[in-house]
């Protein structure tokens, strides 16, 4: 239950409500144990964007890391938030069950960053 105390009615919409993105949605992407990139990145995409677009955006950013070229894509593990899932590259975000402000966590077992530091 809220503990907010106010002197007058206090109701405001979320600043990041889906409707503010004019047909697009937010998606966050993180490459686990590659903290050189400091934090996940965010993109705004339409729900019918194919998942392959996300992979292309990942490549654009993450390929700076020497581990990127070493990835065994068959062993890669994906999570949407806390839940594991296996994305279909050719299907859309919506079809892959990816909603507004979902966090995609990408794991590459065996690759633990520069000198195994997690970076």
């Amino acid at each position: 239950m809220t503990m907010l105390k106010t002197l007058a009615p206090y109701e405001f919409k979320s600043r990041d409500a889906l409707e503010n993105y004019k047909g697009r949605q937010l998606v966050y992407i993180n490459w686990e144990r590659h903290r050189m990139f400091s934090r996940p990145f965010v993109v705004a995409l339409t729900p019918d964007t194919p998942f392959s677009t996300i992979i292309a955006q990942m490549a654009e950013c993450f390929s700076y890391h020497p581990d990127w070229a070493q990835i065994d894509w068959d062993k890669a593990l994906w999570q949407n938030g806390k839940n594991s899932f296996t994305p279909d590259r050719n299907k859309s975000l919506a079809e892959n069950g990816i909603g507004h402000k979902d966090l995609i966590r990408f794991r590459t077992p065996g690759l633990d960053g520069i000198a195994g530091t997690g970076y």
Partner: protein, 514 residues
């Protein structure tokens, strides 16, 4: 001493006559209309007269001492500027500390001035009201002297010229902005706990004392003078915050859980806000006085520990986040520096990779973490830069919904894993950097769903320079973000190769030759 008219009165009695004896309970207008903000937070006050005034400065003494301080301060500033004092700093990397400071600190002092002005109007008790007013006017002093001391640097170095414009726009300044916006939009008692107590008493030492000592150590007389001079007011402010906590706790036992929640919340919010101080101390000062970790131990763990042990008699316990901050002191400065290093095109200050000597210093100061987690990646960056491939992460960040830091901290207990937390409120997901921020959100979700997250606002088309048509068919949000920020291109990029670096070297050379 300035109240000679009545020698037989002691300091306390004199001060009482000169402040609270002036007050009266209104009768033509009801007191709750004159002081409408007293009750709504649920804090119960039965007797305002129980307030103990910590410092007892009447205005004549205040003007006497403050004018003496100001006279000295501006004399030193003038001398420093006339003598090209900026060239006496250790090396030009140091100046980036000032850029970070100018962008992040005076705007917050300004908010403190506003906030304490409001407290100086709304605190019903005459004692706290006067103390808050005095702090308000002091805070004007602080942001103004800070700007005045850095003004001369702005004439010679890039990246400081648009701080006023950038204060509400730059992505990395929105954590500090949200900190003060949060406090000032709360009620008066929460503001006092937030700023007067958690920030001023528990945390500002870690910002100012090392900053000022660092400035002195690096030859910056201007910043040192201003910093020390501001700190001399700080002791007054700290006692006000502590007195306010004690007063609330002594007034009614029902106040304890409210105050405890605020202490938990604001100690954590302050800790997150100060993460960038760590990188300033460990990475940006060419000559270092002490590590962030050591400063944290001295000023927060020991001093804060003493404080909370003392407040235990009221039932106050150590803030929940304390153990996490102790774990994080080994990490945050490194994680922050990496976060900024990778954005050379998005800050008005330069970043760089520490020299080998400096890395050895970091190894020595951080024996548990630096070599194991951070040295290899920094050495990788260094090699890449030397090969002409300086790191530049062009993506937009994910931020915590509460503290608005980029989500870059590790899972407690596992420095290799990122820490993510999320919750759903009214059908929408919200993300946090930590359990503590999640808890703050869940206590008051109506407030935190409003957070202005810069990267999101860019994607909504809300961060465009004047004149951009967001409805044009070829509109691409964020394409002109440098213009929206008014970010001077000369201020961007690595320190190596920067105009600052070249100019400083050339000007120094001029000074050593005829």
């Amino acid at each position: 001493m300035d109240m000679k008219a009545s020698k037989k009165l002691g300091l306390k009695e004199r001060y009482t006559l000169m402040t609270r004896d002036l007050a009266w309970d209104t009768t033509y207008q009801p007191m709750d209309k004159v002081f409408p903000q007293t009750a709504y937070e649920g804090i119960k006050i039965h007797d305002w007269d129980k307030w103990e005034d910590p410092f007892r400065l009447t205005m004549d003494a205040y003007w006497k001492y403050q004018s003496e301080k100001e006279r000295k301060l501006y004399a030193i500033l003038d001398g420093f500027n006339q003598n090209n004092g900026h060239l006496s700093v250790t090396d030009a990397r140091y100046i980036n500390v000032l850029k970070l400071f100018l962008g992040s600190t005076p705007p917050l002092e300004l908010m403190a001035a506003r906030g304490f002005s409001m407290m100086g109007r709304h605190m019903q008790g005459a004692g706290p009201r006067v103390a808050c007013q005095m702090q308000a006017v002091d805070e004007y002093r602080h942001f103004q002297t800070q700007i005045h001391s850095i003004s001369n640097y702005n004439k010679y170095y890039n990246g400081m010229d648009e701080f006023a414009h950038q204060q509400s726009r730059m992505w990395y300044l929105s954590d500090g902005k949200s900190f003060f916006d949060d406090a000032i939009t709360a009620g008066p008692f929460e503001f006092m706990v937030a700023i007067g107590f958690a920030f001023e008493y528990v945390l500002t030492n870690i910002l100012f004392v090392p900053f000022i000592s660092g400035a002195a150590y690096n030859g910056d007389m201007a910043a040192m003078t201003v910093g020390f001079s501001a700190q001399s007011d700080e002791a007054r402010h700290m006692t006000l915050g502590l007195e306010c906590i004690k007063f609330m706790l002594e007034q009614d036992p029902d106040n304890l859980p409210i105050v405890q929640r605020w202490i938990d919340k604001w100690t954590w919010r302050g800790t997150r806000k100060l993460a960038s101080v760590g990188m300033m101390m460990d990475y940006m000062l060419p000559k270092r006085i002490m590590s962030f970790k050591e400063a944290w131990e001295m000023y927060v763990e020991e001093n804060g520990g003493a404080l909370f042990k003392d407040l235990a008699r009221y039932g106050i316990t150590i803030p929940k986040c304390f153990s996490q901050t102790i774990e994080e002191k080994e990490h945050v400065s490194h994680q922050s520096w990496i976060g900024f290093y990778m954005k050379p095109q998005a800050t008005p200050f330069h970043t760089w990779i520490p020299t080998p000597d400096e890395m050895d210093w970091l190894s020595e100061k951080y024996p548990n973490t630096f070599d194991q987690y951070y040295r290899p990646v920094l050495e990788f960056f260094d090699a890449q830069e030397k090969a002409g491939k300086r790191f530049n992460n062009q993506t937009a960040p994910m931020n915590c919904q509460v503290c608005v830091s980029t989500i870059k901290f590790n899972e407690p207990g596992d420095p290799m894993e990122m820490c993510f937390r999320e919750t759903t409120y009214q059908g929408e997901k919200f993300h946090f950097c930590s359990d503590h921020c999640q808890e703050i959100f869940e206590h008051e979700p109506e407030k935190y769903i409003q957070t202005f997250i810069s990267s999101h606002q860019v994607l909504q088309g809300n961060c465009e320079p004047e004149g951009v048509d967001v409805n044009a068919p070829d509109f691409q949000p964020g394409k002109q973000i440098l213009d929206y920020w008014k970010l001077d291109k000369r201020a961007l990029g690595d320190f190596n190769g920067s105009e600052d670096q070249k100019n400083f070297a050339a000007w120094r050379e001029q000074a050593t030759k005829n």
